[in-house]
């Protein structure tokens, strides 16, 4: 039923009357929203970058203070490469290089193991079916969410018991070291690799593999010549993620490392806690630059792979 034309006109007139007021309010809301929308990124990017900028700037500061900039110096950078172990600072070039090389060794081995294992489990989860698969799926996500400190201490308790037991059985004492750290790192990086590789696998067209099999390729050949090349970008991405996580890890390392197996984060933690030296700013700056370069390389690699794939 259509309303009479008169009442229609009336209601339209009222509507227009109200609308001018509302329009103004709506425009105001829109303007506030716009301002907010543009102010927020400015603030956010400042928030995200200012701390790093401050570190970088003060790493060149002549005075030891982080309050006032008095002049430019490269002294702190020079000290990094010439520092000897001393009473005044816990810092020494030797310790730094040792911990860096430990970090890299642990990172590489961890990446190798967890990339292989993680890729395998991802393929298994996507391509086949068996009882308990859902459970495995759930468990696989756990290391991503369980707090690092929990993983660290549970491994510490575990190794402690294991080594005591071994000692009882054989009379031989085992020590934690790089190997225990690698074991801990692999335990939580497998999941990250699996998640990344799995996402790619799920997107992949299974017909490509079927076609290869139809053409007479056996499973291994199908994998080598079809699946693996298609999967490679994801495997590389997963591996890089594992490497970065291993390099960045502090807590699991802290609880599983042996004597003299400091990694870079454990070493840096000691410095942060126990010293006030401006060299920390310089080391931090180098770490910022190094991670930026690494990310740049990995992004360009991935970009190239993506365009090729």
């Amino acid at each position: 039923m259509a309303p009479s034309s008169q009442s229609l006109n009336q209601s339209a007139g009222r509507a227009i009357e109200i609308n001018t007021g509302r329009l103004q309010r709506d425009l105001l809301i829109r303007r506030i929203g716009k301002i907010g929308l543009y102010f927020n990124p400015v603030f956010s990017f400042f928030f995200l970058w200012a701390p790093i900028a401050v570190l970088v700037v003060f790493s060149f500061n002549e005075s030891r203070s982080v309050a006032t900039f008095t002049g430019i110096t490269l002294d702190w950078y020079v000290n990094i490469f010439t520092g000897v172990l001393g009473a005044e600072s816990a810092f020494s070039t030797e310790l730094l290089l040792d911990s860096l090389s430990n970090s890299l060794i642990i990172g590489f081995i961890t990446t190798l193991i967890s990339t292989v294992i993680g890729t395998m489990v991802a393929m298994s989860l996507v391509r086949s079916d068996y009882p308990g698969k859902r459970l495995l799926d759930g468990v696989l996500y756990l290391p991503v969410v369980i707090p690092e400190i929990t993983q660290g201490i549970s491994l510490a308790v575990f190794f402690n018991m294991l080594f005591d037991y071994w000692n009882m059985l054989t009379g031989q004492r085992l020590y934690p070291g790089l190997h225990t750290v690698v074991i801990g790192h692999v335990a939580f990086t497998i999941s990250f690799v699996a998640v990344v590789v799995r996402a790619r696998l799920a997107d992949m067209n299974p017909r490509l593999e079927e076609a290869a099999r139809d053409l007479g390729a056996n499973e291994w050949r199908t994998f080598r010549e079809v699946t693996f090349p298609l999967l490679l970008p994801a495997i590389i991405a997963g591996g890089l993620l594992a490497f970065t996580l291993s390099l960045d890890d502090f807590l699991v390392t802290f609880f599983t490392a042996g004597s003299g197996t400091n990694t870079l984060p454990v070493f840096v933690y000691g410095l942060l806690k126990l010293t006030v030296t401006p060299e920390i700013n310089a080391i931090s700056t180098i770490m910022v630059v190094a991670s930026t370069v690494l990310i740049g390389i990995s992004l360009s690699l991935q970009g190239r792979n993506a365009t090729r794939g």
Binding site: A87, E88, D164, P176, S259, G260, G270, L274, T275, V276
Partner: protein, 332 residues
């Protein structure tokens, strides 16, 4: 300086932070042809926890006296072979044969000192007592040394600083919570850093850490106080934890540390009291340090100081629980 036959071996030292001279380790490495892995800890408890969880491979640890006692009680130390440590005769006689390790079967003094208040004179002015620290209207830090801090509180309450009575320990806990409103940080052997950075105006800290800061800054900003009510005095000792991979080289290292010149270098660097009598007698210790009553207190002050003695595992746990409970309410 080093008997032959150790070239190519490795020694792992686990020591406090800022507790050794620049040249100590490199000289030992050169003399013996060995490699030294050097790691640091920030509290007796942190070191003890690592050893208890299974020695991860340390050959030398440097605990304070009461912790030595605890470790002997729990079979965590290896007895020393004194034939390998002829320089033991250099140790000041008063520091030998301590109550926590009669006859020095397990441990050898490394450095000794007190626990007092490091403060910023410009902000605090001159102070004399613990009472002034508790009442200070500003930011302070306490040392992460539960037995020492509890000992100080127990002493102020008129109890035995080494009590095993749970009521007295809990009274000390409540005493500390009540006076801990101005505590912004529990310093893990880094009170001097907090002081230097201006994060706190006062801190409970080991004497040498503050004195080193005072000498280093060549300024009159900082002071170290042994409060008039009395405080904790301690001796840190080198010892060999169970399952040490290389105990023999560890004893050679101990002997090396007891050389007068090596010991003097360390004390000159750390500004702690030296247990090395020839180093003191032969003028190897800096005169400025030797004449500083904050490092070598007078007999009158020494009489007011007390040691933390081992109290046994059960009482130790009472202290641990009380300490954890105190932490929750500090700075509120």
């Amino acid at each position: 300086m080093c008997p032959p036959g150790y070239a190519g071996q490795t020694l792992s030292v686990f020591n406090w932070s800022t507790y050794i001279a620049d040249n100590t380790i490199p000289d030992f490495e050169a003399a013996c042809g060995v490699t030294v892995e050097y790691s640091i800890f920030e509290s007796n408890e942190a070191m003890l926890a690592r050893i208890r969880q299974g020695n991860p491979g340390y050959d030398i640890v440097v605990p304070s006296g009461n912790t030595i006692g605890l470790m002997i009680e729990s079979d965590l130390l290896i007895p020393l072979n004194k034939d390998l440590i002829p320089n033991l005769t250099n140790v000041t006689p008063e520091l030998l044969n301590p109550p926590y390790d009669p006859d020095n079967l397990y441990s050898i003094p490394y450095q000794w000192g007190t626990i007092g208040i490091g403060y910023n004179k410009e902000k605090v002015g001159e102070i004399t007592s613990w009472e002034q620290m508790w009442n200070y209207d500003g930011k302070v830090a306490w040392l992460d040394d539960r037995r020492a801090v509890f000992g100080i509180a127990l002493n102020l309450l008129g109890y035995d600083p080494n009590t095993t009575n749970p009521d007295e320990i809990n009274a000390a806990r409540d005493y500390l919570i009540e006076r801990g409103g101005n505590v912004v940080a529990i310093a893990a052997d880094d009170g001097q850093v907090l002081l230097e950075r201006g994060d706190v105006d006062m801190t409970i800290e080991y004497s040498g850490d503050i004195l080193a800061l005072m000498f280093e800054c060549e300024c009159d900003t900082y002071g170290y106080l042994i409060p008039e009510e009395g405080t904790n005095i301690w001796v840190d000792n080198m010892a060999i934890p169970v399952d040490a991979p290389n105990p023999e080289l560890a004893m050679v290292f101990m002997d090396y540390i007891l050389h007068p010149q090596v010991g003097a270098d360390i004390s000159n660097y750390t500004a702690y009291g030296s247990p090395n009598q020839p180093a003191i007698d032969n003028g190897l210790i800096d005169e400025a340090l030797l004449s500083d009553p904050a490092i070598y207190p007078s007999q009158e002050i020494l009489a007011k100081l007390f040691f933390s003695n081992p109290v046994g595992g059960d009482a130790e746990q009472l202290y641990n629980n009380a300490w954890d409970e105190m932490l929750i309410f500090l700075g509120q």
